[in-house]
């Protein structure tokens, strides 16, 4: 039987842990709002650029666009892994990392050389520990990702200092991140970024269409664009620049989406931790009372026993 002092110490410890987890839950809940607002604000640009790309693609010479060409043989691939800087978010990071490692192993088995770009301290630590040195590391940005970070990733793999996709040095780029489906649910997305697949942005992430989506009938082919569309300077240049912008946006959206998902995951994890702590504190209090009652009963029976012995 544990003694009263030990149980009391454990109750105190569980209660103070509960206080911390409850505070973290509330902090995450407040941060979710800011993170989802950021995703919401980024939507007009994201939707517009993908619509523009699709409507331009109908007129531009696609076979000469370097970012659209699928390389015949995949020799070198890049996997961009987006995780958080901090833990205590349930399976948020481990899901992404497990999937990324599976993907890397599968590619290496096919004889493809794989490079990793790690966003978030958790990914950096995980890969470095396993002897995989990420070619790019981004830390302290998982809660507030910047467009510049996305531009850097995209510059490296797309336009890339003589070793990017456009120069045929990288043959495939995959992005692994958590998508914030809603405040409480996250879905793991493994998205092929390059070669670019011509799916509308909303379709990839399963987003609700905008209320007044004037371009939708054109996309679906219901309405034909009357006459020609003018391009300045020319269709190929516009198409290429749109592709680059689209690529940057894909990374930016993944980063902010993952930031929103992180807060959602943390809130869920901290909520269940708080619930568990409450339950544990209740059980321990019950045990404490039982032990205390037991001690009192023993004491009384000892007194009564002693008195009875004196009477005799």
């Amino acid at each position: 039987m544990p003694n009263l002092h030990d149980i009391e110490r454990r109750i105190n410890s569980v209660t103070s842990t509960k206080q911390i987890t409850r505070t973290m839950e509330m902090v995450a809940a407040a941060k979710i709002r800011r993170a989802t607002d950021r995703v919401f604000n980024a939507l007009p640009w994201a939707n517009c650029i993908s619509d523009m790309l699709i409507s331009t693609a109908k007129y531009a010479p696609l076979d000469s666009e370097p970012l659209l060409i699928t390389h015949d043989e995949v020799k070198r691939a890049v996997v961009v892994v987006v995780t958080s800087d901090r833990g205590l978010a349930g399976g948020f990071n481990s899901n992404v990392l497990r999937e990324a490692e599976k993907l890397i192993k599968a590619k290496e088995k096919q004889g493809i050389e794989v490079e990793v770009i790690a966003c978030g301290k958790k990914a950096i630590g995980y890969f470095n520990y396993r002897g995989v040195k990420p070619i790019f590391e981004f830390r302290d940005l998982s809660a507030d990702p910047t467009y510049e970070e996305a531009a850097e990733i995209s510059a490296y793999i797309g336009e890339g200092y003589n070793h990017g996709y456009e120069n045929g040095q990288i043959d495939e780029v995959t992005l692994v991140f958590n998508h914030a489906k809603n405040g409480a649910e996250q879905t793991l997305i493994v998205q092929q970024v390059l070669p670019i697949n011509m799916m509308s942005f909303a379709d990839v992430l399963g987003l609700e269409p905008k209320e007044e989506d004037v371009l939708e009938p054109y996309r679906d082919g219901e309405k034909k664009i009357p006459g020609d569309v003018d391009f300045e300077p020319d269709a190929a240049t516009v198409m290429h620049q749109l592709m680059v912008a689209y690529l940057r946006n894909t990374f930016y959206y993944a980063l902010i989406d993952s930031a929103a998902a992180e807060q959602g995951a943390r809130r869920t994890a901290m909520k269940s931790a708080t619930d568990n702590a409450t339950e544990m504190a209740e059980t321990l209090t019950r045990l404490y009372n039982r032990v205390r009652q037991g001690a009192i009963t023993t004491e009384i029976s000892e007194i009564v026993g002693g008195a009875a012995a004196l009477e005799d």
């Binding site: 517009c48 650029i49 331009t56 200092y161 054109y218 569309v229 391009f231 300045e232 300077p233």
Partner: protein, 143 residues
């Protein structure tokens, strides 16, 4: 004159959404004027000032300084998507001058290093500095 719908957005947010009378866009090959019923086009933009006229008399104007990006007219809808953009009225000259000076120092420090990540960072810093200078120039031009 009939009005038409216009959206100005940057990757992080929407800067303007509403009905306008006339737009002057800094296209890569020269300025473009857009009114209702303009033929369809897609163009790349150069860094410059985008002017939106909201009323027929031309008194209610909005100025946005934009860096790169695209403009598209499709079915009487104008979308201007800039890489970076700001309402000229919201530019704080003093703050911006200080930021630009700090950035120049950071660039000078990075210039010696040759690794991939530093090169990428240097590129980002240079673009940012260009953007700050553009804003300062735009404030002088508009005000």
């Amino acid at each position: 004159m009939p009005k038409f719908r216009c959206t100005v957005a940057i990757p992080t947010r929407e800067l303007f959404h509403g009905e306008i009378e006339y737009a002057q866009i800094p296209g890569s090959e020269g300025d473009l004027g857009v009114m209702a019923g303009h033929e369809m086009f897609v163009c790349t933009n150069r860094p410059g000032v985008l002017t939106l006229t909201l009323d027929e008399a031309g008194k209610d104007k909005r100025y946005f300084v934009t860096y790169g990006g695209f403009a598209q007219v499709l079915d009487n809808n104008l979308s201007v998507l800039a890489r970076m953009g700001k309402d000229v009225d919201s530019i704080d000259v003093e703050e911006l001058t200080a930021k630009a000076a700090k950035l120049r120092e950071a660039i000078a420090q990075l210039e010696g290093k040759g690794d991939d990540q530093s090169t990428a960072l240097l590129e980002t810093h240079r673009t940012k500095l260009e953007w700050y200078d553009l804003q300062l120039k735009a404030v002088g031009a508009v005000k």
